[in-house]
């Protein structure tokens, strides 16, 4: 655990170094595409210090100077399965973004969706010796959180303090300076499988890049797609990606829960391919052009050519109606939403004051999806697009780039994580000193 703590700290230092140099890249390794943005940081962020604006404010301090996207290879369910293929895809994206930015980037912040994220809520409490909360008390209370057994072969990806309470005053964002007898903290910890993370690190290292941060794409999609009051009042972000669907729940501007469904748009495509006996490429094309989830009478008459290249004239000249296509797609989308519903129920989403659900990611572009989601998830569903950031080309402002844009915001203004606080010093030396004092007392 302290090993990871150290490596996360090292990544934070690299991020600082990259900010000093002014250029940092963000990389979104998804199942269907890999996006790379090059950010230039120049000048201080004017709104950073103002109260109440929070983590969204970091967007004004950077500018996207290079953006490139490439078809992903060797990634399924948001996890890398073919290392060299993925490495080549990353190289393609990074080189194209560098070419557009005309600058070399050395530091990269990556986000990925897979690796079976699992959320834990942690709580810790310490007594305050001098009656007020000092700087070290925060670190102490975070260290006092009892970490659950999250299993071997798992790593902690995020560990964010979401709430502080002094005595019985809860909901404090910054407890420093408060007077009281006990400080308690709630922390949200997200653990992921170790192997996919290591694979990603290996691929990025093979591309001669330094990793300056790593984030879950469910989290960063929420950061970019939820507007401020949604983050404050409570909302869930459903990132319908290619290989997996990420869900993150935000409350009081902190992520309090994240999970992923290992079904995504690629499964819809493969359903179409299997159901209509057409290649994956054509299935993908038909899905994006004619896809939908709600069939009407008009769709029975709209015929879609299924051109293929088998050489069999009859097979190559088939047509299907659009309602047939919808009939293939809809069950899969319903399955996804059922899984999402189950996760939201498990997370206790019903108990949140606001139950806004925001659909984002490439899958959210299916026409009529918000209607289906309204039926299955709840009334307050909207389609979300990522925040607009400076210099972002028009072609990459769509919902499929929610996690890439979110990673930009994460790079510019990361939330406090556990490793941003110093390790409390009283772990070993103080105890030994105490023991020495006790030994003196016992013997004299």
């Amino acid at each position: 655990m302290s090993d990871l703590y150290q490596s996360q700290r090292a990544m934070r230092n690299k991020r600082q170094a990259a900010m000093q140099r002014g250029v940092i890249a963000v990389l979104d390794v998804g199942s269907s595409k890999i996006a790379c943005f090059v950010l230039r940081f120049d000048g201080a962020d004017l709104h950073m210090e103002e109260e109440g604006i929070g983590s969204m404010a970091g967007q004004s301090s950077f500018r996207v100077i290079g953006a490139a996207t490439t078809r992903s290879r060797g990634v399924s369910f948001g996890e890398i399965t073919a290392m060299h293929e993925t490495e080549r895809a990353i190289r393609t994206a990074v080189q194209a973004a560098q070419k557009m930015a005309n600058v070399r980037v050395d530091h990269v912040i990556a986000s990925f969706s897979g690796a079976r994220p699992r959320s834990y809520g942690l709580a810790g409490q310490v007594d305050l010796h001098d009656g007020t909360v000092g700087d070290t008390c925060v670190a102490r209370v975070l260290a006092s959180c009892d970490v659950p057994d999250y299993g071997p072969e798992r790593e902690i990806l995020h560990a964010q303090p979401v709430n502080f309470a002094v005595d019985h005053r809860s909901g404090l964002r910054d407890p420093r300076g408060h007077a009281g007898n006990a400080l308690s903290a709630d922390m949200h910890m997200l653990s992921v499988d170790r192997t996919p993370v290591e694979n990603l690190l290996y691929c990025i290292k093979r591309c001669d890049l330094n990793l300056a941060g790593i984030a879950s794409s469910a989290y960063v999609s929420g950061v970019s797609s939820l507007v401020e009051d949604e983050q404050e009042l409570g909302a869930a972000c459903v990132d319908l990606g290619g290989g997996s669907t990420g869900i993150s729940i935000f409350m009081k501007k902190h992520m309090i829960y994240a999970d992923a469904v290992r079904i995504g748009g690629d499964h819809v495509t493969s359903d179409i391919s299997q159901g209509l006996h057409i290649p994956m490429g054509i299935a993908e094309r038909i899905k994006t052009f004619y896809g939908g989830v709600h069939a009407t009478g008009m769709d029975d008459r709209e015929m879609i050519d299924l051109s293929s290249d088998t050489g069999d004239w009859e097979h190559d000249r088939r047509t299907v109606s659009r309602s047939e296509l919808i009939g293939v797609m809809r069950p899969r989308m319903e399955e996804i939403f059922e899984e999402v519903r189950a996760i939201l129920d498990a997370a206790g989403f019903d108990h949140l004051p606001s139950q806004r659900i925001v659909l984002t990611g490439g899958g959210s572009q299916i026409p009529g999806l918000d209607g289906l989601a309204t039926k299955m998830l709840g009334q307050q569903v909207r389609l979300g697009r990522p925040l607009r950031v400076q210099g972002l080309p028009q072609s990459v402002t769509g919902p499929s780039f929610a996690s890439a844009v979110g990673t930009c915001l994460f790079a510019a203004h990361p939330q406090d994580e556990w490793w941003d606080f110093d390790i409390p010093v009283d772990s070993y030396p103080a105890r030994s000193l105490k023991r020495a004092v006790r030994w003196f007392k016992d013997n004299w």
């Binding site: 190289r91 393609t92 560098q98 600058v103 001669d208």
Partner: protein
Amino acid sequence: MRSMISVRRKSAKRDPAPSRVAYRLNRLWLTPEFHRFLKLGVPMILLTGMIFAIFSDPLRRETMHDYLVELRRSIEERPEFMVDLMAIDGASDELALDIREVLPVDLPASSFDLDLEAMRQHVESLDAVERVDMQVMAGGILQITVEERVPAVIWRSRDGLELLDADGRRVAALMRRTMRPDLLLVAGDDADLAVAEALQLARATGPLRHRMIGLMRISALRWDVLLDGGHRIMLPETGALPALDRAVALADAQRLFDPGKVARIDFRNPDRPILRLADGAVIDRGRVEPIDVKD
């Protein structure tokens, strides 16, 4: 079913990914230091190398040198820079001839070839020249303005007669004394070192002026004034001028230098002047009145 015309397709789609080497080279190219090196450093290295390569061949170097020299020559010998005439001002004809002789310049010459400072020093080394200015005037004239030394005394030395100026510097040689009867005659070793004193003394002779032949330096220490008729006034090393004044006054008053009276007045010790009588003057000895030297 195959199409009749076989279109050769590549078996696999071209991989859009850059190779590892291409990727690294691309990143290297985007490195600002490397970029700067390529844009500035490499051309400079190439240029330096080329210059070295060209000039390492001695034959080529010589050709280049010859060409440069020729180019310089052709510029220097343009008529605008040529000096055709030498004009000498302020010198006697004789001296002008000397100067023309002594200057190692063949006119017409280019003004770039004239080393005026060296020429000036050359001319100034002539005895008769006190100061000289040289300048190249417009129209190709070398203007030489000379200030001549003015002879003040004639020095009869062991080597012959020489003209000296008031500072004792040699002006010219003289064939005969009678060529410059207006000048004072001095004689004796190192007389040229005390010309100024000699001139003062000569001016102080007063009534004896027309009788004076010249001054003679004795032992390179003091002066004797020689008068006609073999008379001589011997002066001390220091304070020669007041001693001469007194001697002249004495001689004038007592008519000492009438023939057959006093041969020389010895003022080497001013407190105790000594008169040496001429031969045959002894008879009149009794008539000599006492001289109050303290006067």
